[in-house]
């Protein structure tokens, strides 16, 4: 016997577009467009199959700014299926789908409860008002900086309390600090299970007293969102202990691989290596479609060949052609050529010449805690332009990215000087 059994999902981002794609052919586009919907359908199927008591969705069901009707309609269809099966559903809204955001005027099924802008407590089974109860609150608007967790107060009469909240616990970098709170805040509220949303990488922040869980998003949408994505099926036993088990529901998986050119002895070896790596990605994806991110790294003579125009596109096409027509699909969406010419940097760094000066300068910059301001000064003509910044996915260059590009700039200098030296050795006699 158990007190309750529910599925905890979050960040469905229905009908959201895959980011970081440099191209996709029509077949791939169709699969990607359907991916968030299919992942959601998989959640509904899981609920029906497992005969759970309820589905909990902790915000960011869809992106309000996209005003996607298909997203909202599809979501409701899923809820209706649950309702027809007698499974209840509880939803709260997050920063991407706040209450004041655009929403089609659609009726939610009677078995579904949508939390408003103040914390409410709703029993999973109306027949047992003091059994398992879901507490929840929605974002009234996108930019909520208030610690919403502090509004939660458990009613001691309730047998088991579940908190449904879209929030940023701790200093989770890489995510906007909406509804920020700490583990201590969550602990103080007296809730037994915190069903959180917002952070896209799944994690169990605390096993017990209270159990604090981010299920992550149900479908990876960015090359940084690699690996299996899904939901937690939570079984709360009579001992009032929650036992969450992860169930992947994603349709398409992002996967990354790296090929080092240092050991490769020719162009064919590189092409073969790329195909091998891609095949490994596909084989590791548990039978799902794979969107690959391939990085070519290392120093070697092949770098000269890789630097030819359109090479990145050509290599991507090579991989994609090799796997075309196979199901599940493998699509190399991003291929980064980060290789470098064969060059002993350490040796050259010691030379008392200009290139040595340049290499030492780069090392000095890396040694600083943050890049020197004069470096960013050079970039103002670009990043100072509102017209440009408006369209950049990341409107400011992070320090990490800046240093990565600095290394790339160093490689360009090395290339230019090596070519120059080779020319000098041949011409200036």
């Amino acid at each position: 016997m158990s007190i309750t059994r529910f599925v905890h999902a979050a960040d469905l981002h229905l009908d959201s577009t895959f980011r970081g794609l440099r191209s996709a052919d029509p077949e791939v586009s169709a699969i990607l467009r359907a991916a968030t919907f299919t992942a959601y359908d998989n959640i509904i199927d899981l609920c029906l199959q497992e005969r759970v008591d309820a589905l909990l969705v902790a915000g960011d069901i869809y992106d309000g700014k996209d005003r996607s009707l298909p997203a909202q309609l599809h979501f409701l269809r899923g809820l209706r299926r649950l309702d027809e099966a007698g499974i209840r559903s509880f939803i709260c809204h997050g920063n991407h789908d706040p209450l004041d955001g655009w929403e089609a005027r659609l009726a939610i099924p009677p078995g579904c409860h949508r939390f408003g802008d103040d914390v409410a407590a709703v029993p999973i089974d109306p027949a047992e008002p003091h059994g398992a109860v879901v507490y929840g609150v929605s974002f009234p608007r996108q930019d909520v900086r208030e610690n919403l967790a502090r509004r939660f107060r458990r009613d001691p009469r309730h047998l088991y309390a579940i908190g449904l909240l879209h929030a940023n616990v701790g200093a989770n970098t890489g995510h906007e600090p909406y509804a920020p709170c700490t583990l201590e805040d969550l602990e103080r509220a007296g809730i037994d299970y915190w069903a959180l949303g917002h952070v896209h990488t799944r994690s169990v922040l605390r096993e017990q007293d209270p159990t604090v869980v981010y299920p992550g998003n149900s479908q990876g949408l960015h090359r940084n969102e690699r690996g299996a994505r899904g939901v937690y099926l939570v079984d709360v036993g009579d001992d009032r202990r929650a036992r969450p088990s992860f169930h992947p529901v994603d349709v398409v998986r992002w996967a990354a691989t790296t090929l080092n050119i240092a050991e490769l002895d020719g162009e064919q070896a590189l092409l073969d290596g790329l195909e091998e790596r891609a095949a490994e990605l596909r084989d590791a994806a548990d039978g799902r479609h794979v969107i690959g991110h391939v990085r070519i790294t290392g120093r070697g003579p092949l770098h000269a060949w890789l630097r030819r125009p359109d090479m990145e596109e050509d290599l991507r096409a090579h991989i994609n052609n090799a796997f075309k027509g196979h199901a599940p699909i493998l699509w190399c969406a991003v291929l980064d050529i980060e290789s470098a010419p064969p060059f002993d940097r350490e040796e050259r760094r010691q030379a008392q010449d200009f290139l040595g000066d340049v290499l030492r300068l780069v090392d000095e910059i890396h040694a600083e805690t943050t890049p020197p301001p004069w470096l960013r000064e050079y970039l103002k003509p670009f990043y100072g332009q509102g017209r440009v910044r408006r369209f950049l996915a990341d409107d400011a260059l992070s320090d990490t990215e800046l240093l990565r590009l600095l290394d790339r700039a160093e490689e360009r200098c090395v290339e230019a000087f090596l070519a120059d030296e080779a020319a000098a050795a041949e011409v200036s006699e």
Partner: protein
């Protein structure tokens, strides 16, 4: 680091060359001048040093100085570091610049990475521009723009001559990606695309916000549609009712009228059904049966007539077998009658031919003998053998005769030849000398001829010696020595004494002018004396020569005597040889030639006689053999004659055996055989013809017997027929038989027809009676007297039935419109209660109402479809998804472009910052050092250099403090400035990194002598810190360095040419 020795394995025209050449020698650690004429290979050496230290060019076609004189392309350089450790650096052309081997002094392998350390990590660019350069590089720099010069020289100092180009490349590349106000660069284009996508997405978002309104409107339209549909259904029902009444009204009126007319006609329920058809059928059946009966009667009569007309000869038909036999052999009989005369005529012709052939053979040849005579193959073979034997014996006899005649002829010819040769021998006289004596005489004459030559030579020598002796004797008086006083030294001394005396005398006596004249005269005397002495000294005879001449004369006399003796000796020998050759006297060569002529004549005579004698001997030797041949030929002729005789005897015997005349020759017998063969063939043909004629006669008789027998039986009136008549009679009989047989067959067929016609006539008569009975039965059933009455009753009953059917149809139509049962009753009540005009008014009203309802329904349906489409579009939202995808791709593109721009910008920034640091940290020291060198080279004319930071240019300060930009300097001075700058860089590099050897190739040739000297001093100065190697092809430059640095090390280049 210093270079110690270069070893070129194969490089240009150098092969296996060491420099310096001697074992144990090395390049001087300070200053060395390597000199040689143009094309001696200075540039080759410079390149060699660069390649070995920094690697060969990667591409083979760029590698200069491939080995022209053998050896492997490359070599090794011995060098030492600043601590005196020695290394050998070896490199040959190959991949990646050529494999590098570094060995230490002890022969152990070093890590090749030691070389960059030894070179202070100098780049090839730096080394090529600053440490090892030639006049062209020095000049090229001056031809650049001002800023370019400083850039180049500094960037070379930095280790990269291409820095300005690299920086410019980065700048232009990043401007190609993005410009703040640009419109065509990739970034601008991507942003424009993004803006367009966003605008499209905004439009779609506006449409989406109308979704709720659309749903409300759809709801209203749908409920209005439901209401309209209900009203329309009601109106439709009323309209249908009215329509039914309206349509039923004419039927309703007609039904009333019909019911009245039916009632007026009496009903006859037992009247036959379908009465008129049945009546007509019975009447037609009766008529048809009567007609058929008449036809059958006529047919029967016709068959009977035809049977009666047939004629048949049954007796002839009974003889069918005999008739058929005659029919079969009738054609053969006709042919036999035709063939018999022909065969008889052929037999007669053959008999005549046989008679003629026998007559041609001769009277003794009876037909029987000819028939008996055997010409078979064995007899013919005997004939051929006999003929061949006879012909062979005759041929042998002829040949034997011919051979005998030939042998006789040969014998006669040999005897004649012998006799002719013997006569010729007798005609030639016998020789005086034999062959041996003739050979001896010829040899002696040859010796005489040679001795004559030797006598002539001896006489010539004697004449020459005599002449020379005569010449010497003529010279003898002129060579006698002169007396002492006439010798020139004495004359000269006298002249001098006279001159002195003259001067003294005049001086003592006259003084003044006379003294002067005296002095002049004295001088003249002295001069004359001197002149005489000089000339005499040139021509005066030498006593030793005189003594030598006497000796010569004596010797010549001796040689003349020897020659005389030799002449006598040779003449004596000639006389002896002449006697031996039987010559009386030998005066000249002609005597010898005459004697030789005589000897030659004797020789010719001797040779001819000997040849004739040989001919006689040869002929005599042949004669016995020829006589033997003649005898053999005689024997053979006798044998052949015997053989021929035997053959003739055998032939005669064979002829006798055959019964033929003995005079016949084989060809005659062969001809006879041929004729007899022909005769035999003709006899066989004759026999055959006679046999066939007999057979034909037999056939004719047989046929005639059979035919006459039948004719007698069937036609007794036609007996005794001639053979020619038998054929036509038989033909007539066969024709009569065929006619009777055809008639008999026809009669059998007609009998069948008559029987069948009789059966049909009986049936037709029965049919006729039955039809009559049926017609009567029908009239009785209809209770009619006759057919006319029957027809009248039938017409009345048919009309009544028609009225009844029509009334039923009308009732059915009413039922269909109303429905059966109570509905029909109600419908009839409604019809009974209304009238036509009232019905029409109600219908019009209902129709108008319905049209209005339909129009409203269509409007609502259209609106509903529009709203549903709009809602479906919004719900599917495919366009928005596509646009969002496109936005992501564009954003990714923009991010990539941004990364590219940032990368290029940061690359430029790194170079700029590094350069800035260099200018701040190192450039002042370089300029300061260069300043010293430049001031020295220009002898203090330009004591200072200014290189403001970041201005990228150098200015020179004159002694008076005035500044001059470099382009205001002369070309030579510019070259000196950049030489000085290089020296500054070299010293700066030495301080910071390593002391590298400096190699310059004829860089001083454009400097004036003073500045060249000062530049050479500067190089000497530099050589205190860095090894300096100067290449030159000018001896004056070598001298110059010797002046500024006495005893400087020099190495001449070997002349490979």
């Amino acid at each position: 680091m210093n270079l110690l020795r270069l070893h070129l394995s194969g490089f240009g025209y150098f092969a296996d060359l060491s420099l310096p050449a001697g074992d144990g020698e090395r390049i001087h650690p300070n200053l060395t001048v390597i000199h040689g004429p143009n094309e001696a290979g200075k540039s080759t050496l410079l390149t060699f040093v660069r390649y070995v230290l920094f690697g060969f060019p990667a591409r083979e076609r760029d590698r200069r100085y491939p080995p022209r004189a053998g050896g492997r392309h490359g070599g090794r350089i011995e060098l030492e570091d600043d601590d005196g450790r020695r290394y050998v650096v070896e490199r040959f052309a190959g991949r990646k610049g050529g494999a590098l081997i570094v060995t230490a002094a002890d022969g152990g392998r070093e890590d090749p990475a030691i070389l960059p350390r030894l070179l202070g990590h100098a780049s090839p660019d730096l080394f090529n521009n600053v440490f090892a350069f030639d006049l062209d590089q020095l000049r090229n720099v001056t031809s650049l723009q001002q800023a370019g010069v400083t850039d180049s020289i500094y960037s070379a100092g930095l280790g990269s001559a291409g820095l300005p180009q690299v920086m410019a490349h980065f700048e232009s590349a990043r401007r190609e990606v993005y410009r703040p106000q640009g419109k065509t660069q990739p970034v601008a284009r991507t942003i424009a695309d993004l803006q367009a996508v966003d605008e499209a997405l905004d439009e779609l978002a506006d449409a989406a916000s109308q979704y709720g309104g659309h749903l409300d409107q759809l709801e209203q339209v749908q409920s209005a549609l439901v209401e309209t549909d209900r009203g329309r259904a009601r109106a439709e029902k009323a309209r249908a009712r009215l329509e039914r009444l309206h349509q039923a009204w004419p039927d309703w009126v007609a039904l009333g009228e019909l019911e009245e007319r039916i009632h007026a006609i009496a009903e006859r329920p037992d009247f036959p059904s379908d009465p008129l058809t049945r009546l007509e059928s019975a009447e037609q059946r009766l008529a048809a049966a009567g007609t058929r009966k008449e036809q059958e009667q006529a047919e029967f009569a016709r068959w009977e007539r035809e049977v009666a007309a047939l004629h048949i000869d049954q007796g002839l038909l009974d003889d069918e077998a005999a008739v058929d036999a005659l029919r079969r052999s009738h054609d053969a009989f006709a042919q036999s009658l035709k063939d018999l005369p022909e065969r008889r005529a052929e037999a007669e012709t053959l008999e005549r031919e046989i008679q003629l052939a026998l007559r041609a053979l001769g009277p003794e040849w009876e037909p029987e003998r000819a028939d008996r005579f055997d010409t078979s193959l064995p007899v013919r073979t005997e004939l051929r053998e006999q003929a061949q034997a006879l012909a062979a014996s005759e041929r042998d006899a002829r040949e034997a005769e011919l051979r005998r005649e030939a042998a006789l002829q040969a014998l006669r010819e040999a005897e004649e030849a012998r006799d002719l040769a013997a006569a010729a021998v007798a005609a030639i006289p016998a020789p005086l000398l034999d062959a041996e004596a003739l050979r001896g005489r010829r040899a002696v004459l040859t010796a005489v001829r040679e001795q004559l030559t030797r006598v002539a030579s001896a006489r010539d020598l004697r004449r020459q010696e005599t002449q020379r002796l005569t010449e010497l004797q003529v010279q003898q008086p002129a060579l006698k020595p002169a007396p002492a006083w006439r010798r020139p030294e004495w004359i000269t001394a006298a002249a001098l004494a006279a001159a002195v005396a003259l001067v003294v005398i005049v001086g003592v006596l006259a003084g003044g002018v006379a003294l002067a004249l005296g002095i002049v005269g004295g001088v003249l005397l002295a001069a004359a004396g001197g002149l005489i002495w000089r000339r005499a000294a040139q021509s005066a005879p030498d006593p030793s020569a005189w003594r030598e001449f006497d000796r010569t004369l004596a010797v010549q006399g001796e040689r003349r005597r020897d020659a005389d003796e030799a002449v006598k000796e040779q003449e004596t020998r000639l006389a002896t040889l002449g006697a031996e050759a039987a010559l009386d006297a030998v005066e000249s060569i002609r005597d010898v030639e005459a004697a030789e002529e005589i000897v030659e004549g004797m020789q010719r005579q001797f040779e001819e006689r000997r040849q004739r004698e040989a001919e006689v001997r040869t002929a005599a030797r042949r004669l016995p053999a020829l006589r033997r041949r003649q005898e053999e030929a005689d024997h053979r002729l006798a044998d052949a004659a015997r053989s021929q005789e035997n053959a003739q005897t055998a032939w005669t015997a064979w002829l006798e055996a055959q019964g033929l005349p003995a005079t016949m020759r084989p060809d005659g017998v062969a001809d006879l055989f041929g004729r007899l063969d022909t005769l035999h063939a003709t006899q066989r043909q004759l026999h055959d013809r006679r046999r066939r004629a007999a057979a034909i006669e037999h056939d004719i008789d047989e046929f005639a017997t059979a035919a006459l027998s039948l004719i007698e039986r069937r036609c007794p009136e036609r007996q005794r027929l001639a053979p020619a008549e038998i054929g036509p009679a038989v033909e007539a009989l066969i024709a009569a038989f065929d006619e009777s047989r055809t008639a008999a067959q026809r009669k059998a067929h007609l009998d069948q027809q008559v029987t069948e016609a009789r059966r049909r006539l009986t049936a037709a008569t029965a049919d006729c009676a039955a039809a009559e009975r049926a017609l009567q039965g029908l009239l009785t059933q209809g209770r009619a007297e006759d057919a006319a009455e029957f027809r009248k009753i039938a017409a009345e009953q048919a009309h009544r039935a028609k009225l009844l059917r029509r009334a039923n149809e009308l009732r059915m139509a009413l039922t269909q419109r109303s429905g059966p049962g109570e509905a029909l009753a109600a419908f009839r009540r409604e019809l009974a209660a209304t009238d036509a005009a009232r019905l029409e008014r109600e219908r019009e009203r209902t129709k108008t109402h319905l049209v209005e309802q339909a129009r409203r329904h269509d409007d609502l349906t259209t609106r509903q479809a529009q709203l549903q489409l709009q809602i479906a579009n919004l719900e599917q939202d495919a366009r928005a998804a596509e646009l969002r995808e496109r936005r992501v791709v564009l954003q990714e593109q923009l991010a990539e472009q941004a990364q590219e721009w940032v990368t290029l910008t940061l690359a430029g920034a790194l170079l700029e910052q590094a350069r800035h640091r260099y200018e701040e940290d190192r450039q002042p020291a370089v300029v300061h050092r260069a300043e010293d060198y430049f001031a020295h080279i220009t002898n203090g004319r330009y004591p200072q250099l200014k290189a403001p930071i970041e201005e990228h240019e150098i200015e020179v300060m004159q002694r008076d403090g005035e500044r001059k930009p470099t382009d205001a300097l002369s070309r030579g001075t510019q070259e000196q400035l950049y030489l000085a700058l290089r020296f500054g860089l070299i010293e700066e590099f030495a301080d910071r990194s390593a002391r590298l050897p400096v190699i310059v190739d004829d860089i001083l040739v454009n400097f004036d002598p003073e500045r060249a000297t000062r530049a050479a001093e500067a190089l000497r100065q530099l050589s205190r810190s860095n090894q300096v190697i100067v290449f030159t092809c000018h001896p004056r430059i070598v001298d110059l360095f010797n002046e500024v640095s006495p005893g400087v090390a020099t190495i001449p280049l070997p002349d490979w040419r």
